[in-house]
Symmetry: C2
């Protein structure tokens, strides 16, 4: 059984994932991408070699084109104690409690998410929403974190295109910091959402990349990564957007990833939304290309980025 642990005195949390420590070729080989087409566990026909199916989107012939299952090497498990305790002042912990799922995004081994049709991308997004709804009210769960790792520089160990879901007993630190900052801003600005104001500012500025009826994509002012890009619904939404908005969200995500395909960038993306009705966090997706490595300086806080977001935005807009 793994543990969730907090730093002695900082608000910094780590899941000690003992299950994952059992992975073969750990450490030095850990980051190598595995691409064994003839024995990929995420391909159709090998379902009996994985954990059981939890959800699928199916083709007319009954075969699946999107499939959800438990991660075979879960960081968290629905076992043990989810209540967080502190012993002897400095040792704050719980069991590594929760659910860790894999969303296989396509039945095609060779297709990456930037290769699929917009309509299929929409189904992937709908699957995110389904999994959030399926997990968020389970006992002990405080947040359902949906994210994707693409490419070996982004921490992927399996090439077959997939997203991950980690539902656990804590609100992720960055999401909590955002909620706190939103609350602080709102209280001094007549209850307004800061992100609504930021969107208004960036909409007409040099960092705007894409826009459609319901969504906007821009490179953030203090981008931590070259080509970092954030995608927001233009109208205030605190949860995953309703189904009638997903054509536009799929469209703008598709536009974004098509550009990243041009430079074959490894990337992560991470969903941000309100942990509860009381929080007022504007839903958004942060796409984090992993072209530059963080070094010692970055791990003490301030990040060095060699690509100003104004230049990244030109790249997304197709300008020289």
């Amino acid at each position: 059984m793994g543990e969730l642990r907090k730093d002695y005195i900082l608000d910094r949390w780590v899941i000690m994932a003992s299950e994952r420590a059992k992975r073969p070729h750990q450490f030095k080989q850990h980051n190598e991408e595995r691409d064994f087409t003839d024995k990929c566990f995420f391909c159709p026909g090998r379902e009996d070699q994985t954990t059981p199916t939890r959800y699928t989107v199916d083709n007319d012939d009954g075969s699946w084109r999107i499939r959800v299952m438990e991660n075979k090497f879960p960081a968290v498990k629905p076992e043990g104690k989810h209540a967080i305790e502190t012993h002897n002042s400095f040792y704050t912990f719980s069991d590594a409690f929760g659910e860790h799922e894999i969303i296989v995004e396509t039945d095609h081994h060779e297709k990456q998410l930037w290769d699929v049709e917009v309509e299929h991308f929409k189904e992937v997004l709908q699957t995110y929403n389904k999994r959030i709804r399926a997990l968020q009210h389970k006992e002990g769960i405080k947040y359902v974190q949906v994210f994707k790792n693409h490419g070996k520089d982004a921490g992927t160990s399996v090439k077959h295109s997939h997203s991950q879901v980690i539902a656990y007993n804590k609100v992720p630190e960055v999401v909590q910091q955002e909620c706190n900052a939103v609350k602080a801003y709102s209280s001094s600005h007549e209850g307004n959402c800061p992100y609504c104001k930021i969107i208004e500012n960036e909409k007409s500025g040099e960092r705007k990349c894409f826009e459609n009826e319901n969504f906007i994509a821009f490179t953030p002012y203090a981008s931590r990564f070259p080509f970092e890009i954030w995608i927001f619904p233009k109208q205030h939404r605190i949860y995953f957007p309703e189904d009638n908005l997903l054509d536009d969200l799929a469209g703008i995500m598709h536009q974004t990833l098509k550009k990243l395909k041009e430079i074959n960038a490894s990337f992560n993306y991470v969903l941000h939304y309100s942990p509860s009705d009381e929080d007022n966090l504007h839903f958004h997706i942060e796409v984090l290309p992993r072209i530059a490595k963080w070094a010692g300086f970055e791990f003490n806080g301030t990040v060095i980025n060699i690509m100003p977001p104004e230049n990244s935005a030109k790249f997304y807009r197709g300008e020289k």
Copy 2:
């Protein structure tokens, strides 16, 4: 001229390093380690192809064995405005102000820091102290960050063994968080230092790795990285330790890096100390091996670590 920028609403800072953007082969090739023995700019005899020497430790024959110079591609420069301003609520910035130095740790191209003698390691530490003292009182400087990146997974672009110094107009976020947490703890614990108490706890526990008269090394309870290890003076010190303690600091650092050499680990290390007399931050060095990659989940806060610190400590102690 680059800029220091703060996130719209979070306490998260980025240096937009326009000078560094001019580096050849940027982005995709950016992380490749360069090891051109026959044209290494850090080797003796090529001083005329680098920025001017700022400090050296010399051999009897007048040649240097440690050399400090300005980084040719500095993230910050001693030009422009160091005062931080906020415009239009969300845009907080200054010029990317400060000094960015390289410490070439040895005149031997092939020697890494884990290869040098303890006595030489002590001279490297003394050089750190000299550079902190030389830069910390310059106008606009709030903190002198000393760090080392070793190996390509740790963000090094030059193989010749070196450390870096970035003196800039801000206290690094993590150092500031530590100062805040120390202050909060002290105020409810009769002015005591939490790290003194943590050292007392870890001294006799399963996470202790090395100890000598003046220093202790242990793997932290909530380690974010496999083999993460922290080194503290056992007596409370808020600044870089005095010269008579550096034999012991060099000794314990040497022991630590020798173990990392066994697994050929890329690593960063970062010095933490008090930004001012008012802060009471216990000096320490955090060594962060870079064996596992952070992925999407980690960038929202909680880190997954597949190596419990209790196991890492066994590795350092040489137990099976």
